[in-house]
């Protein structure tokens, strides 16, 4: 069980909590990479998904993008971008992260918009809402659960890829793991991996909470489950 105590010791060592390669710095770096990539990906994919979903076009595109995203190894794209024109550094990393974050947001956002009951949209049109109002007041709120699910999938993907990015361009929690590999320090490897896993699980939980808070139908469902008096 010395592996476990070694990891505990690693976390207890104050040296691992300060300086440019300390845990807080790495967490902030990881958070920064994740937020930047997710922000850019959302800025690109959310309006596109809403528009494609609203006009009902581009379904095959959205589905194929997801399939391609699954087949292309993130590690390979990171390496290709880094030894290619972008060079080693945050530009290559963020570009790779954005590329892999777009497909899940686009697909889920599109499906979310398409799955809005056509009768509801017709009714909204019937009472005189403009196309813009229909998107903002009817379709978007109803598409939020799936859209959010897409952003959650993208976030998990980005966090995983940002970890691998340490292999290529530095930065983030993956560095703790890599440094451990380099120095044959198994406790550091496992501690870094634990931090990454915790980071990912915390993100998952955050989105689960967000999804509950933003689901417009949740309240309706709650009302429905109240037993008859």
């Amino acid at each position: 069980m010395s592996a476990v105590t070694d990891v505990v010791d690693w976390f207890a060592d104050p040296e691992h909590w300060t300086g440019p390669s300390g845990v807080p710095t790495r967490v902030v770096e990881h958070l920064g990479l994740t937020a930047a990539a997710l922000g850019i990906a959302c800025a690109v994919a959310v309006p596109l998904a809403l528009w494609l979903g609203h006009v009902g076009r581009g379904g095959p595109l959205a589905v194929n993008l997801t399939n391609i995203g699954r087949a292309v190894p993130t590690f390979a794209v990171l390496v290709l971008l880094a030894i290619g024109p972008l060079g080693f550094g945050p530009a290559a990393t963020v570009t790779a992260l954005v590329l892999f974050a777009i497909p899940p947001i686009l697909t889920n956002g599109y499906v979310g918009m398409r799955e809005v009951d056509r009768d509801v949209v017709e009714a909204a049109r019937g009472v005189g809402l403009s196309p813009m109002q229909i998107v903002r007041q009817v379709e978007l709120p109803l598409a939020v659960p799936l859209l959010l699910n897409g952003i959650r999938l993208a976030a998990v993907q980005v966090i995983a890829t940002a970890t691998i990015a340490a292999l290529v361009a530095g930065g983030g929690l993956g560095n703790i793991i890599l440094l451990g590999f380099g120095t044959q320090d198994q406790a550091a490897v496992v501690s870094g991996a634990l931090l990454v896993a915790l980071f990912a699980l915390a993100t998952e939980l955050l989105f689960a909470t967000l999804a509950k808070a933003l689901d417009p139908m949740a309240r309706v469902r709650q009302v429905q489950t109240v037993p008859d008096p």
Partner: protein, 223 residues
């Protein structure tokens, strides 16, 4: 002095790389295929009983789904590193990690497939005297095949891509070439290996689609 070849110029596309390193490329490809097949195979063997368990017992269901969601959230680099103290710098570590990921996808699809079997079908099978066991083996599982196959295809394609990260443990199939190309900035090596990984994923997907068509002939009309 002859003109420098594409290897000296470090071109992205280089025929000389393919001919001079063919053995290395074939070995890496074979390892990649073996890692993928073994991982998805073991994942499937584990996913079937777990999926049935989750289908039959509500408590098992929430446990299986919760655990698999959490597992899938863990990034691959962290997963392989967490397994390091248990199985060391070996191909086994890579396989265990890949099994855990494919298991997650497969269990969900087994469960979804079983849940999608119409209640009338189950009722009439029970009515004609099927026991619980034969109902599962001869009615429910065969009808769950399309969903199961969808899961196998997704799991295989993502396993092909994820195997590359095994390079950190020295056992990543074509990922090893990408990793060594990263350190030496060898462009032809990285691009060739990447193209091969994507080609493997596409080929595997098409092959599985072919098998699916043979095994589930009643689905043929529905694409």
């Amino acid at each position: 002095m002859a003109e420098p070849g594409c290897l000296q110029r470090n071109d992205w596309v280089c025929g000389e790389y393919l001919t001079s390193r063919s053995e290395l490329i074939v070995d890496a490809t074979v390892q990649h295929v073996v890692l993928t097949v073994v991982s998805v195979g073991i994942g499937l063997l584990l996913a079937l009983p777990l999926g049935v368990l989750a289908f039959r017992y509500r408590r098992a269901r929430s446990w299986v789904l919760g655990t698999s969601t959490a597992l899938y959230t863990i990034p691959s680099l962290a997963m392989f590193s967490l397994l390091l103290p248990v199985t060391g710098l070996t191909a086994t570590t890579v396989v265990v990690g890949l099994v855990l990921y494919s298991l997650t996808i497969l269990v969900r699809n087994v469960l979804a497939g079983l849940q999608a079997v119409p209640a009338e079908v189950v009722e009439s099978a029970t009515g004609t005297g099927y026991g619980r066991r034969s109902l599962l083996l001869r009615v429910q599982l065969p009808l769950a095949l399309p969903a199961l196959f969808a899961g196998v295809r997704i799991a295989t394609v993502s396993t092909v891509a994820l195997t590359t990260v095994g390079a950190i443990l020295g056992n990543g199939g074509l990922g090893n070439l990408i990793y060594s190309g990263l350190r030496t900035q060898f462009q032809a090596e990285v691009l060739t290996a990447t193209v091969l990984v994507v080609a493997l994923a596409v080929l595997a997907d098409l092959a599985l689609l072919g098998v699916q068509r043979v095994v589930t002939p009643w689905q043929r009309s529905a694409r």
